[in-house]
């Protein structure tokens, strides 16, 4: 069995172990366990990168780059990149408990799609690929982090508000303000990215088939999400929403994203965004 064959198993195993060890380390307050978890996850991340590079190198046509496997791989990778950025900017190591499982889920999904040979239209290529997929995935990865930060915020806020006392786990968590900051940055940067991603998709559709909107279920859901995202953007920036409400909404928008990504791409037969043969 060559490296490419066992690579996915290795990455999944490492992410899984990393997540488990980190949660264990948090529960037992073991800094060494946490560090070991991060090292394992780091090795997994490096292998994950290697996997992506390998897929890029093996791609003789753009078709392979739009395969479900590659895209999910990229999404998982993107989530970890966003986590690393948050760690760097906000010293928010805690979010690894969200980033790792999400990356694990997407990476595992990627490998579940290997059986399904991807056949996206060849029009998805080049600049479009960068504009459409890159921006959308970046904003989705950010939403993933906002999802985690939102859950953590709601949990901690409930603890403080109802005065049920902070256990070791909550004491090790970052402050409410930090989680809110994640939400803020995700919305401020993620919404424009999402808009660019969507707009580029419509422009390309117009260039390719002289049709901007084709009532594809994915497009409809994407527009709904854009509306929600815009509402969130407006309420947060213009109206001064903070804390609970934007956290709940970010969680909702992320779940909708996952629904559109997994549900429609795999299950709805009529979409041309699908991963079906």
């Amino acid at each position: 069995m060559g490296l490419p064959d066992i690579l996915p198993i290795l990455v999944i195993g490492l992410y899984f172990l990393g997540t488990g060890l980190y949660v264990l380390g948090s529960a037992l307050r073991g800094e060494r366990l946490k560090a070991a978890a991060l090292v394992l996850a780091g090795v997994g991340f490096a292998l994950h990168f290697l996997d992506l590079v390998q897929q890029l190198a093996a791609a003789d046509s753009h078709g392979a780059l739009t395969s479900g496997r590659f895209l999910f791989c990229l999404l998982g990778f993107g989530i970890l990149i966003i986590f690393l950025l948050l760690w760097w900017r906000l010293r928010l190591r805690f979010l690894v408990v969200v980033a790792l499982p999400l990356a694990l889920v997407f990476y595992a999904t990627a490998n579940a799609t290997t059986g399904i040979k991807a056949s996206l239209p060849p029009m998805l290529s080049g600049l479009f690929f960068l504009l459409h997929i890159g921006t959308l995935f970046a904003s989705m990865a950010m939403l993933g982090m906002a999802f985690g930060a939102g859950l953590a915020f709601l949990h901690l806020e409930k603890r403080i508000k109802t005065k049920t006392g902070l256990k070791t786990f909550q004491k090790d968590m970052p402050s409410l303000d930090t989680f809110d900051k994640v939400n803020h940055w995700v919305i401020v940067i993620g919404f424009p990215l999402y808009t660019i991603g969507l707009a580029s998709g419509f422009v390309w559709a117009w260039l390719a088939s002289k049709r901007v909107f084709s009532f594809d279920p994915k497009e409809i859901l994407a527009l709904v999400m854009l509306g929600l995202y815009a509402y969130l953007f407006h309420q947060r920036l213009a109206y001064g929403w903070r804390g609970r409400k934007p956290a709940v909404m970010a969680i909702g928008v992320f779940l909708l994203t996952v629904l559109s990504m997994l549900g429609i791409n795999f299950l709805v037969p009529t979409t041309f965004h699908g991963f079906k043969p």
Binding site: I160, G165, K171, P174, S175, D177, G240, R242
Partner: protein, 464 residues
């Protein structure tokens, strides 16, 4: 040998405050020196705080057979403080040997303190030790024992959660504020009314980096007064609600019979603040702040009972952590016992010889590797060579130690130095150790010829 360590003392549990103040050694100059002169002791250290007095002594084994060390120390202590000996004897505890070591470790780790886990005692212990070092009454055993006790305290603090949560109302409030706002730098606070606990909380907030403190009181003059001592800004009582838009943390403790801050006021304030979080700490009874305030988004209200509950929970958490801490203390006590035993002459000689043999074998292995295949005779000759060099080098130091032991009864000091010079206990060497004794200039790395790689030597000689 460990039977020579004695510890006598009294603390808040064994003696009331009247006894403690009578036998306090805080204002006694040179107690250690006088005790050393009065009793057959080798080393002395005394710790005296408002909650405890601990006297740690190492007896001179050769001189103390006839005399009861503890009684002698108590006698001298009572005499120094001009107090009745029987009263002192009734309120003191005595530990000997490893019990004394374990007790000292518990004291250093704050397991014996009135509020378990509070760190002040460690600082007090450090300054007592410094005094003993300066007066020259701390030597081999106390040096080692105290250094160990500091590291035990550090281990307990890092490996258990014994000191991780607040056990006073005012600290609990600050801790909660940090959980809400993260860092407190740049935040503002307002103190409404006055009162010891509220002022203490405000002081803690200031110490945690609060940028501005407003002080509001029904009597403006009192607000001005407080503002002066706490470096705050006085605010008229009538302006209080209007000012809240710029305030993140509000500590309230007025004598008002009705609520002075109502939910509908705060709703307006939140609009002005664009929903930035607010934290209300209501220490007053009857309460100053309408409990409905807690129902608003991004507003958190804790009253005195809520804070008390937090403190009680933290206290019980500390009790749980104490079990873990005691396990650490036991482990370290055992390690100290092992070290005490090694202070005897024979184990040190054995350790020295095995260290030398170890080095010889390692160097031999390196040389053999470089030489490549050699015949058995050469190999044997080389083995004899390295072993006899290392043994002959150690011959003089070992004779010296034996001679001193014979002449002086024991030679702890030299044995300790030897063990440290050859690092026989494999202790990690902290690069910051004894920083206070070093001058800034000689900060050259500790490099010597023996540490240099042989390859480097060869290159140099090659150039010549």
């Amino acid at each position: 040998m460990d039977k020579n360590i004695f510890l006598v003392g009294l603390n808040h549990r064994s003696a009331g405050v009247d006894v403690r103040e009578k036998f306090a050694l805080t204002n006694v100059a040179d107690f250690e020196k006088s005790l050393l002169a009065a009793c057959p002791l080798r080393e002395v250290m005394a710790l005296s705080t408002c909650n405890r007095v601990e006297i740690l002594v190492v007896a001179d084994g050769s001189r103390c057979e006839e005399q009861d060390i503890v009684e002698a120390v108590l006698g001298h202590w009572a005499e120094t403080c001009n107090g009745p000996l029987d009263m002192l004897a009734a309120h003191t505890y005595r530990h000997q040997g490893m019990d004394a070591v374990s007790h000292l470790f518990c004291v250093a780790a704050s397991l014996d303190s009135m509020i378990m886990g509070e760190p002040q005692i460690l600082g007090q212990l450090k300054s007592s030790y410094r005094k003993a070092v300066e007066t020259g009454t701390a030597r081999v055993i106390i040096n080692r024992l105290l250094h160990k006790s500091f590291s035990v305290a550090k281990r307990v603090r890092t490996e258990t959660a014994i000191a991780s949560s607040a056990v006073s109302i005012s600290y609990a409030a600050v801790e909660l504020a940090k959980k809400i706002f993260g860092e407190l730098t740049g935040k503002t606070a307002m103190l409404v009314g006055a009162g010891e606990m509220a002022e203490l909380a405000a002081m803690h907030l200031l110490a945690s980096g609060i940028e501005k403190l407003y002080i509001c009181n029904r009597t403006y003059g009192r607000a001005q007064e407080l503002a002066k001592t706490m470096h705050g800004e006085p605010v008229f009582f009538e302006d209080m609600v209007a000012r809240l838009a710029g305030v993140d943390i509000i500590i309230s403790s007025t004598g008002s019979p009705t609520a002075i801050i109502r939910a509908k006021d705060i709703r307006e304030v939140l609009k002005k603040r664009r929903n930035r979080a607010m934290f209300f700490i209501d220490i007053a009874v009857p309460r100053d702040i309408d409990p409905d305030v807690n129902g608003l988004d991004n507003v958190y209200l804790y009253d005195i009972d809520d804070l008390k509950e937090v403190v009680e929970e933290n206290m019980s958490a500390r009790q749980g952590e104490a079990v873990k801490a005691r396990a650490i203390v036991d482990l370290e006590t055992e390690a100290f016992g092992t070290w005490m035993k090694s202070l005897a002459l024979q184990p040190t000689i054995t350790d020295l010889l095995s260290r030398a043999e170890d080095v010889a074998q390692r160097e031999l292995a390196k040389t053999m590797k470089r030489l490549g295949p050699v015949d058995d005779d050469t190999r044997q000759a080389l083995e004899v060579l390295v072993n006899s060099v290392s043994r002959k080098l150690l011959h003089e130091p070992i004779c010296f130690l034996k001679r001193r032991t014979r002449e002086e009864g024991s030679s702890d000091r030299f044995i300790d130095v030897t063990r440290r010079m050859f690092n026989l206990d494999s202790d990690p060497v902290n690069p910051d150790a004894h920083l206070d004794r070093r001058s800034g200039e000689d900060d050259d790395p500790l490099d010597c010829e023996c540490c240099r790689e042989p390859e480097a030597d060869q290159n140099e000689s090659g150039k010549q």
